[in-house]
C-alpha cells in the first residue's frame, strides 16, 4: 500500500439539514476501505461525493493530491457499482460491460477480449448475449462489477453491492470480491451497514454515525479498541455499562471495583465500560465476579447467546456451552476484557 490516492478534508454536505459534518479520511493505493454505519448516517452521500455525483458544501476532495471538487463524474478515474446495480436494461450483458470501452473508442477486437476476460473473472463466461432482465440478483451484481472493473479504474466505489443477496451468496461474494480486489490491484471504497462484512473484507474501516466519522482503523483495532460507546455497540454485540474510573487501571461498575488495563482518564471520571459477550465466561455461582440468573438462551449456529440478569444489569454472554434458563450462575472476565471509553467519544 503506497500513496494516498483519495483524501477528504473536512467535507461537509448540507441538504436542508447537515448530513455530513467535517468528514476527513484518506484512502491509500490498493487499500480496501469500508465506510460502515447505520442507515442514514451518510455513507452513500460520502461515496457520491467521491464519485462526483454530489458536490460538497464545504471542504475539499483530493485525487492523487489534486483538488477535484468540481470535476464532473465522467472525467474522474473512478468507477462505481451502484446500490441497485443500474445496469442498462436495453443492452445485453456484452454491451453493458463494453459501454465504457466504446466511449474510449477501443478497437472491437480488444473490446471482445476485455469483456471475455472480465466475464471469466466474475465467473459468468458465456453470458455475453443474455438479456439483463433474465439474470438473477447475484448475476446482475457481478455484471455491474465487471462493467466497472473493465475500465481499469484507479478507484472502485461499491455501495452495498451485496445488500440484495441472500446470506449464503453474500458470504461467497464477499470472498470473491476480496479475491478480485487482490487480483486486479484496485483501490476499493466499500459501503455497508453490515459490521461483519466490514470486518472480514476491509484493510481499514471508517465507522460513521450521524454524518460524522466515529473511528477509523484496522478491523482488529476497531473491534478490540472501540473509541466510544457507539462504535462498541455497532461493532458486534456489546454490554455497555456506566462506570467510574477511580484511578489509572482501577474502575468500578455494577457496585464493584475491578482492575483494568486502561489509563489516562481524569480521577473519578464517569465512563462507559464495554464487555464483549464472547469475553465473558460463565462459571459456578459465587466463583466469578458477578452473580446472576439466566433469563434466555438462544442457539445461534456456532454458539449460544444467553442473557444473564445480574443485580442491576442484563448481561449478554456468548458461549459454546449452554446454560439452562433459570439457573443461577457466576460471570468471570479478566482485566484485559474490560474496555473503558470516555463519554466524550
Amino acid at each position: 500500500m503506497g500513496n494516498k490516492i483519495i483524501e477528504l478534508n473536512n467535507i461537509s454536505k448540507d441538504y436542508n439539514v447537515r448530513v455530513l459534518d467535517r468528514i476527513s479520511l484518506f484512502v491509500k493505493e490498493n487499500e480496501f476501505l469500508t465506510l460502515l454505519g447505520p442507515s442514514g448516517c451518510g455513507k452513500t452521500t460520502t461515496l457520491r461525493i467521491i464519485g462526483g455525483f454530489e458536490y460538497p458544501t464545504e471542504g475539499e476532495i483530493l485525487f492523487e493530491g489534486k483538488n477535484i471538487n468540481h470535476v464532473p463524474p465522467h472525467k474522474r478515474q473512478i468507477n462505481t457499482v451502484f446500490q441497485k446495480y443500474a445496469l442498462f436494461p436495453h443492452l445485453n450483458v456484452f454491451e453493458n460491460i463494453a459501454f465504457g470501452l466504446r466511449i474510449k473508442k477501443i478497437k472491437e477486437q480488444a473490446i471482445k477480449e476485455n469483456v471475455k476476460s472480465m466475464l471469466k473473472l466474475v465467473g459468468l463466461s458465456g453470458f455475453e448475449n443474455r438479456n439483463i432482465e433474465s439474470l438473477s440478483g447475484g448475476q446482475q451484481q457481478r455484471i455491474a462489477i465487471a462493467r466497472a472493473l473493465v475500465n481499469k479504474p484507479k478507484v472502485l466505489l461499491l455501495d452495498e453491492p451485496l445488500g440484495a443477496l441472500d446470506l449464503k451468496l453474500r458470504k461467497e461474494m464477499q470472498i470473491e470480491l476480496k479475491n478480485m480486489q487482490r487480483e486486479v490491484g484496485i483501490t476499493f471504497v466499500y459501503v455497508t451497514h453490515d459490521q461483519e462484512e466490514a470486518l472480514t473484507m476491509s484493510d481499514t474501516v471508517a465507522v460513521m454515525h450521524n454524518g460524522e466519522i466515529q473511528q477509523i482503523g484496522s478491523p482488529v483495532d476497531i473491534y478490540n479498541e472501540p473509541e466510544n460507546a457507539f462504535v462498541a455497540d455497532f461493532i458486534g454485540e456489546s454490554n455497555i455499562i456506566e462506570g467510574i474510573m477511580h484511578d489509572d487501571y482501577i474502575v468500578s461498575f455494577l457496585s464493584k471495583t475491578f482492575k483494568c488495563v486502561d489509563y489516562g482518564f481524569s480521577r473519578n471520571e464517569s465512563v462507559h465500560v464495554v464487555l464483549r459477550p464472547e469475553d465473558i465466561v460463565i462459571v459456578e455461582e459465587e466463583a466469578g465476579h458477578l452473580n446472576g440468573i439466566v433469563t434466555s438462551s438462544i442457539f445461534k449456529g456456532v454458539h449460544y447467546e444467553m442473557l444473564i440478569q445480574t443485580e442491576d444489569f442484563e448481561m449478554m454472554v456468548q458461549s459454546t456451552y449452554k446454560s439452562e434458563v433459570g439457573k443461577r450462575v457466576g460471570l468471570s472476565f479478566g482485566p484485559e476484557d474490560i474496555h473503558i471509553m470516555s463519554k466524550e467519544g
Binding site: 442498462f88 436494461p89 466511449i103
Partner: protein
C-alpha cells in the same frame, strides 16, 4: 337472468347510438346512387373520384405533411421538455406540469382563435407555416404526457451510471436515456400524428392562402351539399385514425408489460 339481459340490451343500444352514424357513413361511401336513402348497388367509384379531385389530393398532401412534421418536431421538443421537467425539483415541476395541462383542457376554439390573433398581430401570413406551428403547439403537451411516465419508471441511477463510465452528458442522453424511454417517445409521436390528422378547429383558424387539410375540405364540401365523395373521404380518415389508435394501444400495452420489469433491478 332478466337483469343480465337488460344489461345486454342497454349495452347494445349504447353501441348502436355510438356507431350507427359511422356505420351509415361507411355504408353510403359504397353506395352507387347519389341520393341518400336509396341503395343503388355496391361501388368503389366515389373512392376513385376522390383521388381524381385536385383539391382533395392537395388537402391530403398537406394533411400528411403537416401531421408528419408537426409530430416529428413536437416529439423532439416534447421529449427534451419532459427530460427537463423530470430533472426539476418537485415544486417547480408541479407548476410546469400544470402549465402543461392547461393547453390540453383548453377548448380548441380558444387555442385556434388566440393563435390566429397572435399570427396576425406579428403580421405573419396565414398558410402552411402557421398551420404547422399551431399543430406543433397543441401536440407538445401530449408528447410530454406520453414520455414523462417512462422517465419516472426508469432507474434514476442509469444516467449516473453512464456518466460514471465516462459518458459525456449528451452521450448518456443518446445512448442510455433516449433508448430507455423510446416506447414513450413512439407513443407520443403516434398520438401527435393522430391529433394532427383529425384536427379541424385549430387548422381552420390558422391556415390560409389556399392551404387546407382534409377536415377543412370535408367541411367546405359539406356546406355545398353532401356529396358521396365526402363519405368516402371520411371513411378513409376514420380508417387512418383507427389504425393509428390500434398502434398506440399496442405500443402502450407493450410498455405496461415492460414496466413490470422495472422493479427488478
Amino acid at each position: 337472468m332478466v337483469k343480465k339481459n337488460i344489461h345486454r340490451i342497454y349495452m347494445f343500444l349504447v353501441f348502436i347510438f355510438l356507431y350507427a352514424p359511422i356505420a351509415v357513413l361507411v355504408i353510403y361511401s359504397f353506395n352507387d346512387s347519389t341520393s341518400r336513402g336509396n341503395w343503388g348497388g355496391f361501388t368503389f367509384k366515389w373512392y376513385i373520384e376522390l383521388f381524381q379531385d385536385r383539391d382533395i389530393k392537395s388537402a391530403l398532401y398537406y394533411t400528411v405533411l403537416v401531421a408528419f412534421f408537426a409530430a416529428s418536431i413536437s416529439t423532439i421538443i416534447g421529449t427534451l421538455s419532459a427530460i427537463g421537467l423530470y430533472n426539476l425539483k418537485k415544486g417547480p415541476r408541479a407548476i410546469f406540469m400544470n402549465l402543461n395541462y392547461l393547453p390540453v383542457v383548453n377548448p380548441d376554439i380558444v387555442t385556434g382563435l388566440s393563435l390566429m390573433i397572435l399570427y396576425l398581430s406579428v403580421n405573419m401570413k396565414l398558410g402552411f407555416l402557421s398551420m404547422l406551428l399551431s399543430h406543433i403547439t397543441f401536440d407538445i403537451p401530449y408528447v410530454i404526457l406520453a414520455v414523462l411516465p417512462k422517465l419516472k419508471s426508469m432507474n434514476k441511477h442509469l444516467a449516473e451510471a453512464a456518466l460514471d463510465l465516462g459518458a459525456t452528458p449528451s452521450y448518456a442522453l443518446r445512448k442510455v436515456i433516449i433508448p430507455e424511454i423510446m416506447p414513450g417517445i413512439i407513443t407520443g409521436f403516434l398520438i401527435a400524428f393522430t391529433l394532427s390528422i383529425d384536427d379541424f378547429v385549430i387548422s381552420f383558424f390558422t391556415t390560409g392562402s389556399g392551404v387546407t387539410n382534409l377536415s377543412i375540405v370535408i367541411y367546405s364540401m359539406a356546406r355545398r351539399g353532401v356529396k358521396p365523395t365526402i363519405n368516402a373521404l371520411s371513411t378513409l380518415m376514420l380508417l387512418a385514425v383507427l389504425i393509428l389508435l390500434f398502434l398506440i394501444n399496442k405500443k402502450s400495452s407493450l410498455t405496461n408489460r415492460d414496466n413490470k420489469f422495472d422493479g427488478g433491478y
